[in-house]
């Protein structure tokens, strides 16, 4: 395909040739910035017919997440496809264009006392489309659930240019298959989402974030305390275990720390804070952030860790991973990850949800140091029937460490799904598990 052909489809200022490469890979020879669904459809149809490979991007925060191609023929950037389409306040739903950054949406909703039940990393960069495509969640997943739980409907452009609607605009819907699930978490390998309708929640009347710091030697107290808390009737929004270096950054204390959050009416928040105080083992430090302060803590939290658009440090690039485990194994995993890193002279930042079982780690180092470390952690996790997905790695590293891990999954079926939706493998080719 030539510039001529593409120029028929998009105004020249929104399509450009790009030679620049990025250590994270996933670059495009052409960069297209469509503003409408039809433009996307035309571009895709064109590409599909010509056998081009297309990568899709929003804010680019997940550029280092998966993908065995350094370059695609075209990068489809949805950064220009933004804004709220329809906010039905009384129904607590919003329809928004896929390229809208999370923060932009959150600010809009907050004006109406509402919010998206989601606290992903880099809300200023990450777009709703990217977050949904990666089914990305943050610490408050415990109360919020994941994008798969709040996406109500989508508009999706298929590789052949057809436009489909999935789901709907209402909070309950079982008409036909739950086609939303096909696209949520599929890393853009099946279709391009242009509009997303989500279920909203009210902003909490009050909230707090407690950092419980466990002095050296008392780490063994974390698990029993957690068990007590988990079997209580408290309703924590987050229950994250932080390793000392991460705690240093967030809570200012270099100790294993438990971050416990509550959001509710003030009386109920007070009540739960009191419970924690009353049940805290002796010698455990406690710091509390309330209201706005707690909010700011969360905001800062979301800006930790590596992200795509940063110019990566080539000597000591960043790596990150998402780990899934049984929630009761979170504490031991965070400790193990920390210890195994220090054995290798690495410094790892780690936190994990003791209520939902998703943990995250990130670190910097040379390939020779980091990859074996990740492989070792992975084997520990997989032995416990969990998984480790390396969700931020330089492109070269991804060729050496399977981003997705070795857990047996019904791959045959997944491959057939890909073949059925994208027979020419036009979209995000090799970006996903098993080279899908």
């Amino acid at each position: 395909m030539t510039a001529m052909a593409l120029n028929d489809l998009l105004p020249a200022e929104r399509i450009s040739r790009s030679e620049s490469s990025n250590p994270l890979g996933n670059s495009g020879d052409w960069i297209a910035q469509p503003r409408t669904e039809n433009e996307i459809a035309d571009l895709l149809r064109h590409a599909d017919e010509k056998g081009w490979k297309v990568t899709v991007t929003g804010g680019g925060s997940k550029r280092g997440y998966g993908g065995l191609r350094e370059r695609y023929d075209m990068m489809l950037s949805l950064a220009d496809l933004r804004g709220v389409v329809e906010h039905r306040r009384g129904d607590m739903t919003v329809t928004v264009r896929a390229g809208t950054p999370i923060r932009e949406l959150a600010d809009h909703l907050a004006e109406h006392g509402q919010r998206l039940p989601c606290d992903p990393r880099w809300p200023g960069t990450a777009t709703i489309g990217g977050v949904v495509a990666a089914n990305e969640t943050g610490p408050r997943r415990l109360a919020f659930g994941a994008p798969r739980d709040f996406v109500l409907g989508l508009r999706v452009i298929c590789p052949d240019g057809r436009i489909l609607r999935t789901g709907g605009k209402v909070v309950k819907n079982v008409a036909g298959y739950d086609m939303n699930k096909l696209f949520v978490g599929s890393m853009g390998t099946l279709g391009v989402m242009s509009e997303i309708t989500v279920k909203l929640r009210p902003l909490p009347p009050d909230q707090c974030l407690m950092y419980l710091t466990f002095p050296e030697g008392s780490e063994a107290d974390i698990e029993p305390f957690l068990r007590l808390l988990r079997s209580s009737t408290l309703e924590p929004f987050a229950l994250e275990v932080l390793n000392p270096v991460l705690a240093e950054k967030t809570a200012g204390v270099n100790r294993y720390t438990l971050a416990v959050a509550f959001e509710d009416r003030s009386e109920a928040v007070d009540d739960q804070v009191k419970w924690v105080r009353d049940h805290l083992p002796e010698g455990i430090g406690m710091e509390m952030r309330r209201g706005e302060e707690a909010l700011r803590c969360w905001e800062a939290w979301a800006e930790l860790g590596p992200r795509g658009p940063e110019v990566p440090d080539t000597d000591s690039p960043a790596a990150a991973a998402k780990i899934g485990l049984r929630s009761t194994e979170t504490v031991s995993f965070i400790r193990e990850a920390t210890e195994k890193a220090s054995d290798r002279g690495l410094e790892v930042f780690a936190h994990g949800g003791a209520g939902h079982g998703i943990a995250r780690i990130w670190l910097r180092g040379t390939r020779e140091a980091v990859l074996p470390y990740l492989a070792e952690l992975r084997s520990v996790v997989e032995e416990r029937r969990g998984f480790l997905v390396a969700d931020h790695l330089p492109f070269e590293w991804r060729k050496r460490l399977d981003v997705w891990g070795n857990r047996t999954i019904p791959f045959g079926l997944m491959k057939r799904i890909k073949d059925s939706c994208d027979p020419n493998r036009t979209l995000n080719d090799q970006r996903f598990v098993g080279g899908i």
């Binding site: 609607r165 209402v170 309950k172 739950d178 096909l182 009737t233 049984r326 029937r385 079926l413």
Partner: protein
């Protein structure tokens, strides 16, 4: 004598018996009659046989056999489905999962439970309640329906306003695919396993993508406190506005249910009356739960919001027992229709909450036009309506009018931006109404997905989508029109 009988048996039946044992295959006409429909009684069909496998291995073996012999088959749970999902169209083998009804494992610390598909919904909560836990999705049929059936229908319930529907609580499954292959999705309840969300696709697929033989579900800690309110209104519109007001005020009740006058008449004349006044136009049943300390002010806020909408009376349940009676009265509401009408057809449309008053008005119009009474019991909080169309199948023409009324109700829901089913599924019943919400292409895309899982379309054929015959008719019509135009 039996030997002789057996020799005359359909060879397929004999082979099925070899896999699951003689007593676990039903094939006599009288026995099959009981399987000619599920909770949706307007369409009936005769199955070829019913088999009762004891475990996944037997399910897989039976499925492999049927696949090889090219015989269509259907999974069936308790048969409480309301759209004909488990109803045979004719000649299918029904694979009943009711004998796979064990609770396999409970892990309270990780908050998961592993059950067989035939395990009855309410049993799960009953088995863990003494330790303070429960399973959130609570369809009104929970006394009888199976968790396998819940997964297939993505069942909702009164409490899904706050806690979500079945799909939000399923963490893993073992599935027998239509060719007999057994796959496992999700493990130990760990979320986000790499790959496409197969679990999400299977949930709500109405038993057309695979047979679920083991399920890992999330269980929750029972809330610290709970308050149940009952608000009686003299005007339906005011009641529906109160619903919107409550939600807009940032209150997220665990449940927010509504019944109208006809529905109240039914529940009060049935088996679980609680003494609702019969001259009110609507009632709201609201439950808030959570941290005890935060409930009092929520109850006050709700009461105040109802007052502003001219409520006649608001009361809070004195104790668990009273609340339970209110709930039993509500949850048996569909069945209670039997007390005021020989037959009923329940619809399941969903609308944006804010259009409630408008839609209720239109339903009244439909009732007037068709001359049939329509009762409304519904999950008002999430806009999931259940118009119950009352009719007498024995009166000529009434069934057809009921079907028409049902279809028109769904049309109204689709027109205000809603959908045709919120929890009961499409099944046989709403196949044609799928066109109200999806284009031909969108339906084709869904059928393509089905073909990925179920390429021969042997598993529960003919469900969920407009019938191909009709499709062809439509195509033909379009072609003819084009030709006429061109």
């Amino acid at each position: 004598m039996f030997g002789r009988k057996k020799r005359r048996l359909d060879p397929l039946i004999r082979q099925l018996m070899e896999w699951v044992g003689e007593t676990n295959v039903l094939y006599r006409r009288e026995d099959l009659v009981a399987y000619e429909c599920d909770g949706f009684t307007l369409k009936k069909g005769e199955a070829r046989a019913v088999v009762f496998p004891a475990d996944t291995r037997e399910v897989a073996a039976v499925v492999r056999l049927l696949h090889r012999e090219n015989v269509p088959f259907i999974a069936r749970g308790a048969g409480t489905g309301l759209s004909g999902g488990a109803t045979p169209l004719g000649g299918e083998v029904i694979i009943s999962l009711v004998k796979m009804k064990k609770l396999l494992r409970v892990d309270l610390d990780n908050r998961i439970a592993v059950v067989q598909p035939g395990f009855v919904n309410l049993k799960l909560t009953q088995s863990i309640a003494d330790r303070g836990y429960y399973y959130a999705p609570d369809p009104s049929s929970q006394y009888a329906c199976t968790i396998g059936g819940n997964v297939a229908e993505n069942a909702g319930g009164a409490h899904c306003l706050k806690y979500g529907v079945t799909t939000n609580h399923i963490l893993g499954a073992e599935v027998v695919l239509p060719d007999g292959e057994v796959i496992r999705i999700g493990d130990e309840g760990i979320p986000d396993m790499p790959g496409y969300d197969l679990l999400g696709l299977l949930t709500g697929s109405e038993g057309t993508l695979g047979i679920v033989t083991e399920i890992t579900v999330r269980i929750l800690k029972a809330p610290q406190g709970k308050q149940t309110l009952l608000a009686y209104f003299d005007d339906v519109e005011e009641a529906s506005r109160a619903v919107s007001d409550i939600i807009s005020a940032g209150i997220l009740p665990a449940a927010l249910e509504m019944m109208d006058r006809t529905a109240i008449e039914a529940v009060e004349s049935a088996n679980f009356p609680v003494g609702h006044p019969l001259d009110i136009e609507a009632l709201l049943l609201v439950e808030v739960d959570g941290i005890e300390a935060g409930l009092k002010s929520q109850v006050e806020d709700i009461t105040e919001l109802c007052r502003r909408r001219n409520v006649r009376e608001v009361k809070t349940a004195r104790d668990e027992k009273e609340a339970a009676a209110w709930w039993a009265n509500r949850k048996t509401g569909f069945g209670a229709m039997g007390a005021i009408s020989p037959d009923y057809l329940v619809q399941d449309g969903v609308i944006p909450r804010s259009t409630l008053p408008e839609v209720l008005g239109k339903i009244r119009e439909i009732s007037r036009d068709t001359g049939l009474r329509i009762a409304n019991i519904f999950h008002a909080g999430d806009g999931n309506l259940h118009p119950l169309i009352l009719f007498d199948e024995r009166k000529p023409g009434e069934k057809e009018r009921a079907l028409e009324a049902g279809s028109r109700c769904l049309k109204v829901c689709a027109e205000v931006g809603g959908t045709i089913t919120g929890e009961h599924g499409v099944g046989i019943e709403k196949r044609e109404e799928m066109r109200f919400v999806f284009t031909k292409e969108e339906i084709a895309a869904q059928i393509r997905l089905r073909d990925v899982f179920n390429p021969g379309n042997l598993l529960n054929p003919g469900k969920g989508f407009p019938q191909p015959g009709r499709c062809a008719e439509v195509k033909q019509e379009i072609k003819e029109r084009r030709m006429a135009e061109g």
